[in-house]
């Protein structure tokens, strides 16, 4: 029992060390916003750090690129931001707005689960927190039931069990979605080929801002090619020069 208490104490103290405040250069942000206000979008983009995975920061970057007229980059950053702050109303509005500027219209033929996960209002961290809450609740009830056989504990535990399993499944789906590689077309026009060989033909043409999933990649003659899939089921190979991908 003493060991258990010690472990609990250790984990209670752990966040204090890990959640320490990181130093952020607020002045840079202030200058970037000032540049944005003056219409100097290139400068705003340059000043903004690109390696910080923060939803609001990525949202602002998406805005900068949109104002600059780069719909592809704008959608790219909005999509990453959506993985972190999926319930942000401004972000959802801007992403929809940016998508409306895209020339290509695609019919979403993906499975219902894919669509649900894609439009989920929970981030990966949210799903983990929910899972943790249910697991703590479930195991706490289970532990209490070891010592107190009480009807008031049995039923909540029975209710908790499916929720616990579902929340774990949700974590799995969210993890897959979080780690799914995607890309956006940056070039005004980009050809999609049937393969990477010289004899392969152009299957279709995509335009700036069209989103796709990345299934595979291959480097040929110092040029990278991505095998992409569209939501309407079309597939093909596209040159890396005309797109931007997450990984």
């Amino acid at each position: 029992m003493r060991i258990v208490l010690l472990l609990l104490l250790l984990f209670a103290l752990l966040p204090i060390k890990l959640f320490g405040d990181d130093k952020i250069n607020h002045e840079l942000f202030f200058r970037a916003h000032e540049a944005y206000d003056h219409g100097l979008y290139d400068e705003a983009i340059t000043l903004y750090p690109k390696n910080i995975m923060d939803g609001q920061l990525l949202y602002n970057l998406g805005n900068f690129y949109f104002k600059k007229g780069e719909i592809g980059n704008s959608i790219f950053y909005f999509k990453i931001a959506k993985r972190l702050i999926p319930r942000d109303a401004d972000l959802n509005f801007n992403l929809d707005y940016a998508r409306k500027q895209v020339k290509d219209s695609l019919e979403d033929k993906r499975s219902v689960i894919h669509k649900l996960v894609d439009s989920s209002l929970l981030s990966f961290i949210d799903t983990i927190i929910i899972f943790t809450l249910f697991s703590v609740l479930f195991f706490s009830l289970s532990i209490l039931l070891l010592y107190f056989k009480n009807e008031w504990l049995i039923w909540p535990r029975r209710v908790c069990l499916p929720l616990f399993v579902l929340s774990l499944f949700n974590v799995y789906l969210s993890y897959n979605q979080q780690n799914a590689n995607f890309g956006v077309v940056l070039a005004a026009n980009a050809n999609v080929y049937s393969g990477v060989g010289k004899g392969d033909v152009v299957l279709f043409e995509l335009h700036e801002g069209t989103e796709f999933s990345v299934n595979d990649k291959i480097d040929i003659s110092e040029e990278r090619w991505y095998e992409i899939g569209l939501v309407d089921g079309k597939k093909g190979w596209i040159k890396s020069a005309s797109v931007r991908t997450l990984l």
């Binding site: 258990v4 472990l7 609990l8 984990f11 752990l14 966040p15 890990l18 959640f19 990181d22 952020i24 607020h26 942000f29 916003h33 944005y36 390696n51 910080i52 995975m53 923060d54 609001q56 920061l57 949202y59 602002n60 805005n63 900068f64 949109f66 104002k67 109303a89 401004d90 509005f93 801007n94 707005y97 940016a98 990966f124 961290i125 983990i128 927190i129 899972f131 943790t132 697991s135 703590v136 195991f139 706490s140 289970s142 532990i143 070891l146 010592y147």
Partner: protein, 583 residues
């Protein structure tokens, strides 16, 4: 059995190939009764025997005295001693159009290019029912409360269906009221289901279930207007004669009853709609009934630029919907904003009553005393056959001096129609400028790790406690095991109580014997040195000798003999070795 099924299947396969010689074809016309009354229906059947296919459907000659409605076709086949007989029956429901004695038939049909005729039947049609009402199972009737109404005067059309049998599949066709304005009775009474009210009445000592539908109708044109009969097609359920229910199941499924299809109709009406008489004052109005008008102001005094509501309410019995807005002759210094009129109708017991409310928002632009003129509503009263006028008295209002700034921005109490917000441009939502709660990437990573760790720790704690609990339960359930497990603990506690300064041979001996007794689940206090060889076969010879030695020394010491003292350490040492061996 298999052979029988095979034969049957073979016959069924051959059926389409069976052809019947045209020579056997005959056509028969049958009716269920030779007398019928107006408003009742006859069942008529045309039976084609000897053929399944025909070139043209049968035609029945009825001289226009009957209306024939098809009610389906059935086919029959009989195989008697190898002779195949096929029948096709065309069923009709027949409605007489006038009274008298008429011939129906012959029916004609063309089969294989050849025409066949049936017999004819004579039917007597009487004015009233062949049966008096109290002997019938169902009947219906329709009434109109006024056959000579004025144009726009409300009259009541009532349809009543009387029944004292179970009915099903009822289909009612009311007359077409295309030349009337119709108001449905919307009163919410407990006996109303759908648009019909249901009640029980007794006619000449016979109880009837009566379903009644009432419509208030307003003729919209003058002259002769006819109202067609209402027709009601239904099936009545009649108990099969002869015999009891075959089974509870057949009774449950209603197989003890047969359905008889019937068609009932009411009489038709011809209305003579009169125009409204000319008024001596030359007044023209569309209102027929009794109406009352009243007008009100929301405030008796108001400041310049403020708004008030002027309400004119016209209500009564009659064609409420035809009430036109009153003509308002107000000074130009009163700005008027007209609201949409509101109509509240109530149709109860064949009478339409209600109100029509006209509201105006008035904004006085100048100060002073103003007068809202009287409002007159003229209507034709069909009871007195004269034009009458209801008047709302004039209303005065005092407008006081108000703030000039209000004049141009006065907001009427009744807001004008709202307009959609005009979209002038489209853009993204703004960037986020608030204090940045940015987190380092390591934070997110550890957040998930910590969360998962908590879950795993909870899982481990649970399993650890589960294992502990099970072992604990197991021990509790076995007293022997518990005694064994606690033997050393008990021994240590007993030894601790021994006073080392005294010669305590007895206590030391007792401690050792009780320890051995606990380990072997025997009464240790009764153990003697001579018992040891049989009780401790599992102990190594060396330790056995040591135990024996200690016990012998204690025995000798206890009874006054010369013996070496046994120390507590010596005792604990040997018991520890024994404990290892017992484990």
């Amino acid at each position: 059995m298999l052979r029988k099924i095979g034969s049957l299947f073979f016959i069924l396969l051959l059926l389409p190939l069976i052809s019947v010689a045209n020579d056997d074809i005959s056509l028969t016309l049958k009716i269920d009764s030779e007398s019928v009354s107006l408003g009742e229906a006859l069942s008529l059947e045309v039976e084609l025997s000897g053929a399944r296919d025909f070139d043209e459907a049968p035609t029945i000659h009825s001289n226009g005295k009957f209306e024939l409605r098809s009610s389906g076709t059935t086919s029959h086949m009989e195989i008697i001693n190898g002779d195949v007989n096929v029948k096709k029956i065309f069923a009709f429901t027949t409605f007489p159009k006038e009274k008298g004695s008429f011939t129906i038939g012959p029916a004609r049909i063309v089969v294989g290019g050849k025409s066949y005729s049936s017999n004819s039947v004579v039917v007597t049609v009487s004015e009233g029912s062949a049966l008096p009402k109290q002997q019938r199972l169902v009947f219906c009737e329709a009434t109109v409360d006024n056959l000579h109404p004025y144009i726009n005067q409300q009259i009541v059309y009532t349809f009543k269906f009387y029944s004292r049998a179970s009915t099903q599949d009822a289909s009612l066709n009311l007359p077409n009221f295309s030349q009337f304005w119709v108001e449905e009775d919307t009163s919410n009474t407990s006996n109303r289901r759908g648009n019909a009210t249901h009640k029980e009445v007794v006619l000449n000592g016979v109880p009837w279930n009566v379903s009644e539908i009432q419509k208030v109708i307003f003729p919209t044109k003058t002259g002769k207007i006819s109202l067609d009969p209402a027709t009601l097609d239904l099936s009545i359920l009649l108990k099969r004669e002869g015999g009891r229910s075959r089974s509870l199941l057949s009774a449950f499924l209603g197989e003890d009853y047969s359905a008889k299809q019937m068609s009932l109709s009411t009489k038709s009406f011809e209305l003579d709609v009169k125009p409204l008489p000319l008024s001596s004052d030359g007044i023209e109005t569309k209102l027929v009934g009794i109406f009352v008008v009243k007008s009100t102001l929301s405030k008796s005094s108001v400041k310049q630029g403020e708004s008030l509501t002027y309400t004119v309410t016209i209500g009564g019995d009659g064609n409420i919907r035809d009430i036109n807005p009153p003509a308002l002759h107000l000074p130009a210094t009163l700005k008027i904003y007209e609201d949409r009129p509101e109509t509240n109708l109530n149709v109860t017991n064949g009478k339409v009553s209600g109100v029509k409310i006209f509201k105006y928002a008035i904004v006085p632009q100048e100060m002073g005393e103003f007068e809202f003129p009287q409002v007159d509503v003229t209507y034709f009263n069909p009871v007195t056959n004269s034009y009458e006028t209801s008047t709302a008295a004039k209303i005065k209002i005092n407008v006081e001096k108000g703030e000039l700034s209000n004049l141009n921005h006065a907001t009427p109490e009744i807001v004008e129609k709202k307009k959609d917000v005009e979209i002038l441009g489209k853009d993204l939502m703004s960037i986020k400028r608030e204090v940045y709660p940015f987190a380092s990437p390591i934070l997110g990573k550890h957040q998930s790790v910590i969360s998962f760790s908590i879950s795993i720790i909870m899982l481990l704690i649970y399993f650890a406690l589960l294992v502990f609990k099970r072992r604990s339960d197991k021990r509790s359930s076995s007293g022997v095991q518990l005694r064994k497990d606690r033997a050393f603990k008990v021994f240590k506690a007993s030894v601790a109580k021994i006073d080392a300064k005294k010669d305590s041979f007895q206590e030391i001996s007792k401690c050792l014997r009780i320890y051995i007794g606990d380990k072997l689940s025997i009464d240790g206090s009764a153990l003697s040195v001579s018992d040891l060889p049989g009780k401790l076969p599992m102990i190594s010879p060396e330790n056995f000798r040591k135990v024996e030695d200690i016990l012998k020394r204690c025995e000798m010491g206890s009874y006054g003999g010369v013996a070496n003292k046994v120390t507590k350490d010596e005792l604990i040492s040997i018991v520890k070795q024994l404990d290892k061996e017992f484990e």
